[in-house]
């Protein structure tokens, strides 16, 4: 039995933790979130210099060869710091697709820039009708000479407004929800026919709606085999789900700690409110929810690191736990903070909002409960 980290892993966790403590306090975060791009290009350059943008990529591609464990360590700290930089969209999602399926030429063209921090990217994984089923794709790619014509609509493209590269799943055959017939395209964001509508999300991240009207792309832009995009897409959505679950854990632990701390300092009826048993028991309940979720995170991460056959199912178990026990923890943290919990000024409301966004991302508790039941 050994839950301890390797020396390299411990150093990575430590360096991110120190960064959050020293350079990413809540005030700085709020400033960045309110700035023009909604993230800090300077911070992003720091991330690249510190090697974090290289973490999950293979060494032969210029990465550090990290896996689910490294990603978990990083994302937990990003949760604690409420980091708004588009690590999930650029590195885990778009980068993840390239890592798994791109040709050497495509990696040279896009992945190198993603790793060195010079390219922002996004994966257009969702459409208005698809809800949480990423295979539900109406966007079409029709053969057009040597290349393709893309038509369709993508909603919630995380980092879509700031991205230089758009990874676009489109249907080249099959019916709307088939696994086969999905083709992945790497498309420069300034390609004509792409109409972007950028917006901030409730958690101060950035996203865009994309309207694709006769977007002409050449055959080289196909990532991997035509029609066979499902495997890479599914693997990336799984890793992204695991990543936001780890981030959620960082948020939950921070909310729990801040709530307990608040209850020790907030005086009502002449005593700290933390002396009331009614509140003590609830904070013990949320502590148990937190530790149970942490246990599931470790289990899931280890299954994923080992490439276990049950890895996908375990991600659904974790996501369900976060959407139920985690949601309760987040709501209790706000409630115990009283009126202060629903102010913009205090950080607790911003943790709550990011947590809520994560609850929905890649499927809520209901969705993953069904997926868990349906998994072998």
């Amino acid at each position: 039995m050994d839950f301890s980290l390797s020396e390299e892993q411990a150093m990575l966790a430590d360096s991110i933790a120190r960064f959050i403590d020293n350079d990413y306090d809540f005030e700085s975060r709020q400033k960045i979130a309110g700035s023009g791009k909604g993230y800090s290009p300077e911070m992003w350059r720091n991330f690249a210099e510190l090697g974090w943008t290289a973490v999950p990529f293979a060494e032969e591609d210029g990465g550090l060869g990290g896996g689910p464990i490294e990603l978990m360590l990083l994302m937990q700290q990003f949760g604690r710091g409420l980091v708004v930089e588009p690590y999930l969209a650029t590195i885990v999602m778009a980068g993840g697709v390239l890592q798994r399926a791109a040709s050497a030429g495509q990696k040279e063209k896009w992945l190198t820039g993603i790793i060195d921090g010079s390219i922002q990217a996004a994966l257009a994984f969702s459409e208005p009708q698809s809800r949480f089923e990423f295979t539900d794709i109406r966007t079409s790619a029709k053969k057009d000479g040597d290349g393709y014509l893309l038509n369709g609509f993508k909603n919630l493209v995380l980092n879509g407004g700031n991205a230089d590269l758009l990874v676009i799943p489109a249907r080249t055959s099959g019916s709307q929800t088939d696994k086969d017939g999905i083709t992945l395209f790497a498309v420069a964001a300034d390609t004509s026919g792409i109409d972007k509508r950028s917006y901030a999300t409730i958690d101060a991240h950035q996203a865009a709606e994309l309207s694709l009207m006769d977007v002409q792309v050449d055959a080289d832009s196909v990532i991997g085999e035509p029609e066979q995009g499902f495997a890479a897409l599914a693997a990336v959505i799984d890793q992204a789900t695991l990543a936001v679950c780890a981030e959620a854990l960082g948020i939950m632990r921070t909310m729990q700690d801040k709530t307990v701390e608040y209850s020790k300092n907030r005086i009502q009826f002449g005593v700290p409110i933390g002396t009331f048993q009614a509140l003590q028991h609830r904070m013990v309940d949320t502590l148990m929810a937190l530790e149970q979720t942490q246990s599931l995170l470790l289990w899931t991460t280890m299954l994923n690191a080992a490439g276990d056959a049950g890895a996908t199912k375990s991600i659904s178990a974790l996501k369900y736990q976060i959407g139920t026990a985690g949601q309760k923890l987040a709501q209790e943290a706000v409630q115990i903070h009283g009126g202060m919990g629903v102010t913009w000024e205090l950080d607790i409301s911003h943790y709550f909002k990011r947590f809520t966004a994560i609850e929905l991302l890649f499927g809520n508790a209901d969705f993953h409960l069904n997926r868990y039941i349906d998994s072998p």
């Binding site: 698809s130 917006y199 409730i202 009614a278 009283g338 009126g339 629903v342």
Partner: protein, 400 residues
């Protein structure tokens, strides 16, 4: 056992429905349904329509302009308004300070304040909570020192809804610290918001909105005439007020309206995808709320039946507040779940009348669902948090 309405009550119900069909303005209805916030002028216009009908002050005694309705009529009226999602009366003047003034105020105060409240000419806000005094309201520190011809008020009130729109504020202030119990020495004072030394600072809420404020009093001179009732008895008056606040919170019919909206939405298919209602998990959660809401409707009816035979609304109103707000919040999260990824865009600007339709994100008001979920976490915190409500039930119902 019979919950049927009498002939007269059915006639009255029809009268209310006819009135709403004819007089509820379309533009306000549209804003309500699209969840576009009403501005002050909208609220006043609607309240004046009710006033002209003689239906503004449904709880007041007839002599001051009240309706003289039976408890059942008041219930019918509230339900019918809720059933068409008509705006709720801004409570601070009509439902909160007016009952204190006509119960404990002197004749001059009644003449001075009640007609303007009745006609919605003057906008009020409530100065109870302070930064250090939330659930423990009796610890409040805002001081009113009695001078020759005025009180000198110093202190800070917080969570003051609509203070930035208000003309007057009613406050609980400390007029004496030399008392055996903290509840003594508190007085009920009416303060003109334009008095020098009164300043209002916004508190931005979780959803980015401005509805609450801090109100600062810096050597504010308040005429002695603005004291309601006896000095040092303000706590007793304030408690009556809180009871009034709690009885207005169950809002069953409004939750029923929302539940129906949600079910309609969940039954629809989006671009050929299966309707959300086909998901047994989601349908099960809808059913659970529906059952809870039905129970709440009958709990409210039982309270109403007690009031109808002359019993005062007591601690049972705490039960309505607790369950009523819980049901609201369950609905909030189901709306967000139904919105899916359309719950994520933060686009409050699109909920303005002049927002261009071509820029709109979502099919309806889905992008509002997250903001409502966030904002309405307050429902279990304000007006006496649900923890405080449970203390009241434990003490007064269970005798613990």
């Amino acid at each position: 056992m019979n919950v049927n309405l009498t002939e007269e009550e059915l006639d009255f119900q029809q009268e209310v429905r006819t009135f709403l069909e004819e007089k509820y303005p379309d533009d306000i209805r549209e804003k309500q349904d699209k969840r576009i916030p009403l501005d002050r002028e909208d609220s006043i216009r609607w309240q004046k329509i009710l006033f002209e009908q003689g239906w503004a002050a449904i709880n007041w005694p007839v002599e001051y302009g009240g309706t003289g309705w039976t408890p059942v009529q008041k219930y019918i009226f509230d339900r019918e308004l809720g059933a068409v999602n008509a705006p709720e009366f801004v409570p601070f003047g009509m439902k909160m300070v007016a009952p204190i003034i006509y119960t404990f105020g002197n004749d001059e105060q009644k003449q001075r304040f009640l007609p303007d409240i009745l006609q919605s000419n003057v906008w009020w806000c409530q100065g109870y909570s302070e930064p250090g005094s939330g659930s423990d309201l009796a610890s409040l520190k805002t001081k009113a020192d009695r001078q020759q011809d005025h009180y000198l008020v110093n202190g800070t009130k917080t969570w003051t809804t609509s203070a930035h729109l208000a003309d007057w504020i009613f406050c609980l202030v400390r007029t004496s610290s030399d008392v055996a119990r903290r509840q003594e020495g508190i007085s009920f004072l009416l303060i003109d918001m334009t008095t020098p030394g009164v300043s209002v600072k916004p508190i931005i809420t979780i959803d980015g909105g401005r509805e609450v404020n801090e109100v600062h009093f810096d050597n504010v001179r308040v005429p002695l005439d603005n004291l309601v009732g006896e000095e040092g008895k303000g706590w007793t008056y304030g408690k009556v007020l809180l009871q009034h606040e709690r009885t207005g919170m169950a809002i069953v019919s409004r939750s029923e309206y929302r539940l129906k909206q949600l079910k309609d939405k969940a039954a629809q298919s989006v671009h050929g995808a299966a309707p959300l209602m086909d998901d047994r998990n989601f349908a099960g959660k809808i059913a659970a709320v529906e059952i809870e809401l039905k129970a709440l409707e009958y709990t409210e009816l039982r309270t109403l039946a007690a009031v109808a035979v002359g019993k005062a609304p007591g601690p049972e109103s705490s039960i309505l507040k607790i369950k009523g707000t819980e049901v609201q919040q369950q609905l909030d999260i189901l709306f967000l779940e139904a919105a899916g990824y359309y719950g994520l865009p933060y686009v409050p600007d699109q909920y303005r009348v002049d927002f261009p339709k071509s820029e709109w994100i979502g099919h309806g008001a889905e992008t509002k669902s997250s903001l409502i979920y966030f904002n309405n976490r307050k429902a279990t915190i304000y007006g006496g948090s649900n923890e405080i409500q449970k203390n009241i039930v434990a003490k007064h119902v269970l005798g613990l």
